[in-house]
């Protein structure tokens, strides 16, 4: 009888969850040892992080505010993954959505009750338009969306810098180059957390339900896991690809709109906070599951918020980044290991 490792096509949920928990624990222990080696007191720091994050409304509100864009950018990436497309451009679509929503808010007069839905639509359209060319290029010319969506991020970032420091610059003589403060604020939901938070969760739930319970969702999932089989079965692969990718862009655009209308209230360079790129991590943490994105985003938000708390405790930025990286690295390894099981096989069956 020999003992060997066997890789399973999919890990059982219980094993996956355990692997994830162990991975995070190991990452934290490793980070703690490193911090201790550099003279800090990891237990005291951990206590402070827990107290600041979960022990006060302050901390929970901060996490709630952070999690909103992360759910949406994560969802954006996860949606595209459903049909096998990698949307690396959520960052750019986020900016395009923020840009479009700001444009509507600055140049169309109206009461907030009308303007906020208009900004929402504009944000979604902005993100959609930003992914339009990569989508068509992928659908009709088989150009890798990985490259095209990524490159358009830089274009969107510079576009926002251009309008915020040029034509849309707030004439108020602010020292920070930014547009005027928008007149329409997303109403607050709990504390400083705006209504974008429940909207993001709702959007994730609706999307997940659509993929799980509709014929369209079924076809997309089939098309994503095996395009050849989908085509053979007569499913319109190209049409599904186009719709899903455009939806992915629109969701990232909504994230940008909510960040502008709910949190920052002005358009300026740098507001994305890398949410677009972090969305890729969130989607990976969620293993591409639309509902899992909520948990992935929550984990990411807690990690990012802990990073800020650690910095105010005198841990420097690079160390915080390294700890974040460690957690994600261990999680990825844990996820992979969860696919294996130890089997003792009889040679005859081998």
């Amino acid at each position: 009888m020999a003992i060997r490792l066997q890789r399973l096509p999919s890990a059982s949920p219980a094993v996956a969850l355990a692997a994830r928990a162990i991975a995070i624990l190991l990452a934290l222990v490793t980070a703690g040892l490193l911090l201790a080696a550099s003279g800090a007191q990891p237990l005291k720091l951990a206590q402070q992080v827990l107290k600041s994050t979960f022990g006060s409304g302050f901390g929970l509100e901060d996490v709630g505010l952070l999690v909103t864009p992360l759910i949406l950018t994560g969802l954006s990436v996860a949606v595209a993954l459903r049909i096998g497309a990698w949307n690396i451009g959520a960052e750019g679509q986020f900016y395009a959505g923020a840009f479009a929503a700001t444009g509507v808010a600055l140049f169309i007069p109206g009461p907030s009750i009308v303007m906020l839905p208009l900004m929402f639509i504009a944000g979604a359209l902005g993100g959609l338009i930003w992914i339009l060319v990569p989508t068509l290029a992928r659908a009709y010319a088989d150009v890798s969306e990985l490259i095209t969506t990524l490159l358009l991020n830089f274009v969107a970032t510079l576009l926002v810098y251009y309008v915020a420091t040029g034509p849309w610059l707030d004439p108020g003589g602010h020292a920070l180059a930014t547009t005027a403060r928008l007149k329409h604020d997303m109403p607050e939901f709990i504390g400083i957390v705006h209504w974008g938070f429940p909207m993001a969760i709702l959007l994730a739930v609706i999307t997940a339900a659509t993929f799980s319970f509709t014929r369209w969702g079924y076809e997309v999932r089939i098309a994503g896991s095996n395009p050849q089989a989908a085509k053979y079965a007569g499913m319109p692969f190209r049409r599904h690809l186009i719709v899903v990718m455009l939806l992915s862009g629109a969701i990232a655009g909504i994230a940008g709109m909510l960040e502008v209308a709910g949190t920052v209230h002005r358009l300026q360079g740098g507001i994305s906070n890398n949410f677009g790129y972090l969305g890729i991590m969130v989607a990976v943490l969620a293993r591409g599951s639309c509902i899992g994105v909520i948990a992935g985003a929550a984990l990411m938000a807690v990690i990012l918020n802990s990073g800020i708390i650690l910095q105010t405790q005198g841990v420097n930025t690079s160390t915080v980044l390294a700890i974040t990286g460690l957690i994600l690295f261990f999680t990825a390894v844990g996820d992979e290991l969860a696919h294996f099981r130890i089997v003792s096989s009889k040679p005859a069956e081998a």
């Binding site: 901060d62 920070l176 949190t263 740098g270 906070n273 800020i308």
Partner: protein
Amino acid sequence: MSDLRHLSRRRLLNLGAAAGSSLLLPPGLIRSAHAAAPLPAVAEKDALIAFGHTGPVTDEGWTWSHDQGMKAVKAAFPQVKTVFVESIPYSADATRTYRQFVSENACMVFATSNYGDFLYDVAKRSPKVAFYECDGRNPLDNLSTYYVAHWYPTYVTGVAAGLMSKSGKLGYVASFPVPSVFSGTNAFLMGARSVNPNATMQVITINSWFDPQAATQAGTALLDNGCDLLFGIMDEAGYLQVAEKRGAKAVMWNTDIRRYGPKAYISSIVIDFKQYYVGEVKKRLEGTWTPSSTILPMGAGVDRDAWGESVPEDVRKQADAVREKILGGWSPFVGEIKDAKGNVKLASGKRMSEAELYNWDWPIAGISGL
């Protein structure tokens, strides 16, 4: 070299002591008397003072200088606890960081760059905490603003630049089109034009205060375009190294960083917030803190650095004569001044107020790229 440096530092401090009350703004800029009572006193051992920086404290420039200020506070009040966070982005992360300072019971929060609404959102919800915004323009009941009158030493170095540039084409590596950049480009070119009326300036903005790679690229592009002397408002030494490599000259900001380009180095707009920070913390601890708007004048918070080795004696003399004149009360910022489009923005004979210099938001004639 280090002797010269100490000399200039000591001189700076002496001048500061002599200037004394001139640490305050000229009458025009002092905000109207504050109605509310001062914030209550804080025992030294209970005081937590927080600093939020835009760059790393190791930048040898802007953030390093503010960190020196924090260390001076620590030296003056040994029981005070201090904390800083570096490289805070201009995003909602800034709000989170400043909120965290407050939730840890900081009694003073210094933002050493303009975080605007990201800071005001926190300040408005924390009325018992004294906030500061460097280069800010929007004082609140619990938020003071402070900055340096860098346009004067910039004009002085501009005179030296005008004398030393062969082509008369000056380059400027800018962060954003904001007032501190406009007053920098304008004062520098006005100084240069006072000795070379044909001098012009080309500006490249890189959307960051600390991005050595982008600053290096911008510096290279400006030299490729025919500029032979670089100025800018970067927190680090990137474009000085470009100038050194290409045989051009450079004027820098924040600190003495001549070792990155000893031949190229003309001077630097050196800053010193130590005295200011110690004074403000003292007020807070004593219970006399009220919000204020302060611009540290030349000689007491900002000055030119000791001249670089390649600056000829006659250039030093000529530029320093201008410096003495300014210290004596003369202002170079007198009309007629035209903007880059040729419109007369300041009538002949009219003198710009400190507030106008602080809020300068248009480029003068001869500047392109802003």
